[in-house]
Symmetry: C2
Subunit: 392 residues, 2 copies
């Protein structure tokens, strides 16, 4: 290996895909901080501060709020394997890749899975969810707040109350919403929630913030069988993140440094200001996308500000456009997943990537690339439309 491999110097990128998003220089720099041990007094203080920050971010007082040592999907698995025992029933709402993934994880945990489906890009109504809860009386229900594969924004404000009426635990995926749009874990009565660091928190991938309500913790501490995953067992993690500080696994020190610094940037900006920024840049992008003659895959009113999924115009070569954006402009946008493969682009405006300059850049680049592909576009129209939003 030594002679063959030089130092890694990646091409400069502007990350406007489904994640990771661009990481601010101060968060990158925090990762160059020398390490301390995972039981060092200063690291234990940092862990407390990270928990404190995550509670602020999730808007919860849940004691059991921490960062799992894995990426967002490990957060999903943590919520499910801790709540589910073999034979338990779980209702999962599926309208994209991540709802589908939840069914797979739940089945592997031994759940009897009931699926409520909607076509990709659509959202679920409170009525159909209530009907499914009444029919299946599941121990837990899983739903995705922000479907990264379709850009659909699921209304979830009333689901917690509904789940409590049916004695069901509500599991919420906030991977692409946390830190970008309102997430109110206590107000919404969510029992288990997970997210990732590499989206609207603009921290590198590697940790999964999670939080469990006291109802969820009651279910977890009263399990009949051990949690099937040792690594993700909340009962054991509670002893390391709690006052006992019992060794469980060696925490990823550096990733926690990054998350801490990322949380500092978030609270310096203020959560409400951050949500407003994501909303404004989304509206500007959307005006430009419409001016380019493209449409969102999700319906009006259910389009995520953080992840803009748009239909690829007829006759346009998906891969060629994305490769040109990458090579000529250094811009990464996402292709479609699953049912949307080759049919949609996913333009992320998350965290540090949600900036006016990125909106103008991606619109101008897209305009030029689409024109080369024979797509008729009025020169300058997209940027003009976005400018109007910023000016108004």
């Amino acid at each position: 290996m030594p002679s063959k491999h030089n130092a890694f110097i990646p091409a400069p990128r502007i990350l406007l895909g489904p994640g990771p998003s661009d990481v601010p220089p101060r968060v990158l720099q925090a990762m160059a901080t020398p390490l301390v041990g995972h039981l060092d007094p200063s690291f234990l203080s940092l862990m407390n501060a990270v928990q404190d920050g995550l509670r602020g971010l999730f808007r919860t007082d849940n004691q059991m709020t921490l960062a799992i040592s894995g990426t967002g999907s490990a957060g999903m698995e943590t919520c499910i394997v801790n709540l589910i025992e073999p034979g338990d029933s779980m209702l999962v709402c599926v309208n994209g890749v991540f709802g589908k993934r939840m069914t797979d994880v739940a089945e592997r945990a031994g759940a009897e899975v009931h699926v409520l489906e909607r076509p990709w890009g659509e959202v679920f109504s409170i009525e159909e969810i209530e009907e499914a809860l009444a029919k299946h009386k599941p121990k837990a229900m899983g739903i995705v707040h922000a479907e990264t594969s379709t850009g659909a924004w699921q209304p979830v404000e009333q689901l917690g109350a509904l789940c409590r009426e049916h004695d069901t635990l509500l599991v919420l995926d906030t991977v692409t919403s946390l830190g970008g749009v309102p997430v109110e874990i206590d107000e919404w009565d969510v029992d288990a929630v997970y997210s990732g660091t590499q989206k609207c928190l603009s921290c590198p991938p590697g940790l999964a913030p999670v939080s469990f309500s006291s109802r969820a913790m009651h279910a977890i501490t009263n399990r009949q069988r051990k949690v099937q995953s040792w690594y993700l067992d909340i009962n054991m993690l509670a002893n390391y993140w709690g006052t006992e500080r019992a060794y469980h696994h060696t925490a990823p020190i550096t990733m926690n440094y990054a998350l801490y610094e990322s949380l500092r940037t978030i609270f310096e900006e203020g959560l409400e200001a951050r949500w407003a920024r994501h909303d404004l840049n989304h509206r500007a992008l959307k005006a430009g996308i419409h001016a380019l003659g493209m449409r969102y895959t999700a319906a009006e009113g259910h389009q995520l500000p953080t992840l803009n999924a748009v239909s690829i115009p007829d006759g346009v070569d998906d891969a060629a456009v994305r490769m040109t954006l990458l090579e000529d402009f250094g811009i990464e946008i996402g292709g479609g997943l699953g049912a949307f493969k080759g049919k949609a682009w996913r333009i992320g405006l998350m965290g540090h990537s949600s900036r006016k300059s990125n909106v103008f850049l991606v619109l101008s680049a897209l305009e030029q690339v689409l024109r080369k592909q024979g797509h008729t576009v009025e020169p300058g129209a997209a940027v003009a439309a976005a400018s109007n939003v910023y000016d108004s």
Copy 2:
């Protein structure tokens, strides 16, 4: 959170505990590199290079060699949950915390677990292992090469051949050996091996290098049931790390930057030179430890160069010594775990921490601190003894 928390500036530490070890500045710096996407062509090249480097490190041609997106314990869980199906029998050799942990993980995977036990600090003989294999005929056998809790160095050269005779898959824990002492996966016929990045590789914790033989892959691809963990499912990970590059989870980009840079430092030094360095510094430390009137917990010939576990002298206050080392010298050493709690210290000389200057420093510091505790020590004897080793 914003007003309460300042930038994190940890106290300077010299990490001579059971891990993490000190990370070289160039590896720290690599983590400040801006991110690219997890499907970016340059990241895919980096993944190939990481696999290439890990094969060199494990001394294997195994195609299925990669870094799991979690810490060392996630590597343990990956090996076990992929090989074991409910009802399979597994033999586990337990002589410390990490063998014990393997039984817990295996039971959670539904294994019928047979335990072969030795007192803490001892190692297993080939004869007793052969007897247990013959008796239980397990599908898999797990053993720890370098027991981080006791400093015992298990001979494993002949175990692979023995396991093949009994049609058993050999699972080897190399968390505290890989990169510090010889590890020869192909020569030893090991079927599944895992490690961590934060020990002898001197990379921050956050990834778990693993490798699977073709025999192991045959068992994994012919399973009756899905692997219980979605996140750690090697069948799915193979599609991302292999030629298909199918999205599974978002890889921890930055941790892979660090591992790549760490692998570069390792091959620049050369594996044999690295093993020799670990051995020399261990022998010097040991001479000093003996001069301080202390003894290793493992028997002569089975003491790990990477993790020096020594008995705490009678009448000496464990916590006070470690706190003084930390506060007065910035040195972290490890306390005892489990049966060795309060009875042993664990002095790691791993990776970048395995340096002559650290040997002299920790010996002089220990001498002074032990004297304060009323332990009789001839002034300068420990450093003189270590010097002798370096001079000879």
